[in-house]
């Protein structure tokens, strides 16, 4: 179920990315595929996140004036970094995910811009202005999208939290040593 949800979300994200700029120019600063790729990476399944990142990146690159594979390259790298962090740190809280999506957005933009410069291409506009707008747009949109996606899997989240904290409580209850008492 979770797999299907993220796959559908990714397809919708790609379609939105390809069409929304024609509806309103500022919507170009929201990177929908990146939001879903980071969400997939936060599920601690690195392989799925990497594959999603590459597919989404190439789909966007094919319709863009930039180099083919540049979005795929940056998003794949971001997906790996996020999934590795998510494996080591508890990031199921929405508040903790906000800096993650913001950091992922900055890293993605830097890699994308850097790869173009490396291969002799000059992206339009100022690096800092475009990065700032993308950071704000993607972080705000990402927060709401994560809330929306999580609402579909609250049961999974509750079960995960229960599993995460249960062994510690159990150990405390069974510990025969009590403070202030002699064994």
């Amino acid at each position: 179920m979770e797999q299907l949800k993220i796959t559908i979300a990714l397809i919708i994200a790609i379609l939105l990315q390809l069409t929304l700029r024609n509806v309103a120019e500022p919507l170009t600063y929201i990177d929908f595929p990146l939001i879903i790729v980071v969400y997939a990476a936060l599920q601690r399944n690195s392989i799925k996140a990497l594959l999603f990142a590459t597919i989404a990146g190439i789909a966007v690159d094919a319709m863009s004036g930039g180099l083919l594979g540049s979005n795929a390259f940056s998003k794949t790298l971001v997906a790996f970094v996020v999934s590795e962090i998510a494996r080591r740190v508890y990031l199921d809280n929405l508040l903790l995910r906000i800096p993650v999506i913001a950091g992922a957005c900055l890293l993605d933009d830097l890699i994308y811009y850097g790869m173009h410069r490396l291969l002799g291409q000059d992206p339009l506009g100022s690096l800092f202005i475009t990065m700032a707008y993308t950071l704000v747009g993607t972080t705000i949109a990402g927060t709401f999208i994560y809330l929306f996606l999580d609402s579909f899997s609250s049961e999974t989240l509750k079960r995960r939290k229960r599993d995460f904290f249960a062994p510690r409580r159990e150990t405390r209850r069974r510990n025969p040593i009590r403070l202030g008492r002699k064994p």
Binding site: L15, Q17, L18, T19, R21, N22, V23, E25, T28, Y29, S46, I47, L50, L51, A53, T54, G57, I58, A59, V60, A62, M63, S64, G65, G66, L67, L68, G69, S70, N71, A72, F73, T76, L77, F80, S83, Y112, Y113, M115, H116, L119, G120, Q121, D122, P123, L124, G125, T130, Y133, T134
Partner: protein, 296 residues
């Protein structure tokens, strides 16, 4: 497993990027396939979006319709008088034209197209139009709007095409300041990586150039036809007898706010074979010809 997959994917993407960065005139198959697939989504969304937009515009216009109606009634009376005068002028004009044997000619055929998609990345400004190879669109055909040249076709699928702007870095074209034939301020115009701004190089420093001068294409380079307007000179860093001018041009045609463009159905004249080959290849060809002549 994961690090290996990461390496393979990164390497694959890097190879794809390096291949795409090559400066050749071919289109990439992946782009063509994606364009064709995306057409089924982009076209309906664009039409639905414009329908919704038109509906709200219609509602907004209704409010001012009554007062506008009164104004228009008065205007009609005035215009009727003008129409009578114009009819007389048109008859006179026709008679004079026939006397002078003037013929109105359109130099290139034009195909209008609607922009159905824009670049999904904030870093670039390409666009997708609703005309493809079925309509006769070919790779590298120039795209114009009423302000002048804006770009060229970079990928063609059967139903739609991708266009890229001349402000993109890859583009570079021969240009002239002033009318072709009356000026010798020739140079090369290329994108600056800035929206609506171009840079012109190699214009000799001794040629007088002023702010506000109009820049046109020369037709050199074999992609764009001569005489298309590129823009106005915005800034000149004056050169000397040995140093060329550094000229910045403000593009008069803007694509960001446009919904429709025109494709010039222009096919450049074929280049001679030796232009594409190395200098020694020309010699080989000449030698081969001379050998066949001697054998005969």
């Amino acid at each position: 497993m994961t690090p290996w997959l990461l390496l393979v994917l990164l390497l694959g993407n890097f190879i794809l990027m390096a291949y795409d960065a090559r400066a050749d005139d071919e289109q990439r198959v992946i782009r063509v396939w994606t364009l064709a697939a995306a057409n089924f989504v982009q076209s309906p969304i664009t039409y639905a979006g414009s329908a919704v937009n038109n509906f709200f515009v219609y509602l907004a216009n209704l409010r001012s319709a009554e007062t506008e109606n009164e104004k228009l009634q008065k205007k009609i009376q005035e215009l009727e008088v003008e129409v009578q005068e114009n009819k007389e002028l048109a008859v006179e004009n026709k008679r004079l034209k026939s006397l002078l044997d003037l013929k109105q000619k359109s130099e290139y055929k034009i195909l209008t197209a609607q922009i159905i998609g824009r670049d999904p990345s904030a870093w670039f400004n390409a666009a997708v139009i609703n005309r493809g190879s079925i309509d006769g669109v070919k790779l590298n055909m120039p795209i114009v709007v009423d302000g002048g040249l804006v770009g060229r076709v970079t990928a063609v699928s059967p139903l739609n095409s991708q266009i890229n702007l001349i402000t993109a870095d890859k583009a570079g074209l021969g240009a002239i300041i002033g009318e072709l034939g009356s000026s010798n301020a020739l140079g090369v115009v290329r994108g600056k990586g800035e929206k609506g701004r171009l840079e012109m190089d190699y214009v000799p420093g001794y040629v007088p150039v002023a702010k506000g001068d109009i820049v046109y294409t020369t037709g050199q380079g074999g992609v764009y036809p001569p005489g298309l307007k590129l823009g106005e000179i915005e800034e000149v860093r004056t050169g000397s007898a040995t140093m060329p001018h550094q000229i910045f041009i403000r593009q008069t045609a803007r694509i960001s706010s446009m919904q429709e463009v025109a494709i010039l159905l222009y096919t450049p004249p074929p280049r001679p074979k030796y232009e594409k080959a190395l200098p020694n290849a020309v010699k080989k060809e000449e030698m081969a010809n001379s050998n066949t002549d001697s054998e005969d």
